[in-house]
Symmetry: C2
């Protein structure tokens, strides 16, 4: 088994609606010392074997798990 | 400035609807070598100064960003 972690973020300058909501709620709740909130989604993809897993992960990250217009992503191998 | 990263996951045994959807779509698209998909949400909370930031982050992670019945979370300090 091998696990690849895909971390998907919003590109700089693209407003993240969920982070915006969290930031607003923090102000309402009085957490004024939080100057910004950024969010990311993590997908841990577990493969039975490593053979051509990285090629598939790159394809999945690009085509299914992120939108190249608004997202960037990183891929890391996290464990055996 | 200091950044604290809160990573929120589903507890073992709790079904993650989003991960389930991704897993199903992978099978439909023919990615049969992916045996499992796990997901997490990451909140990067940026504070103006470090004074009592960790206490606030712990309170936020517990009360606002996660649901103790279905989620677990970790807090890490990621950078100045």
């Amino acid at each position: 088994m091998v696990t690849f972690r895909v971390e998907v973020r919003y590109l700089p300058g693209v407003e993240d609606p969920e982070a915006l909501t969290v930031r607003r709620n923090l102000k309402i709740l009085g957490y004024n010392s939080v100057s910004d909130v950024k969010m990311a989604r993590i997908y841990d993809l577990i493969f039975e074997n490593e053979k051509d897993a990285l090629i598939q992960v790159e394809k999945l990250a690009r085509d299914l798990l992120s939108n190249p217009v608004i997202n960037s992503y990183t891929i890391t191998k996290t464990g055996e």
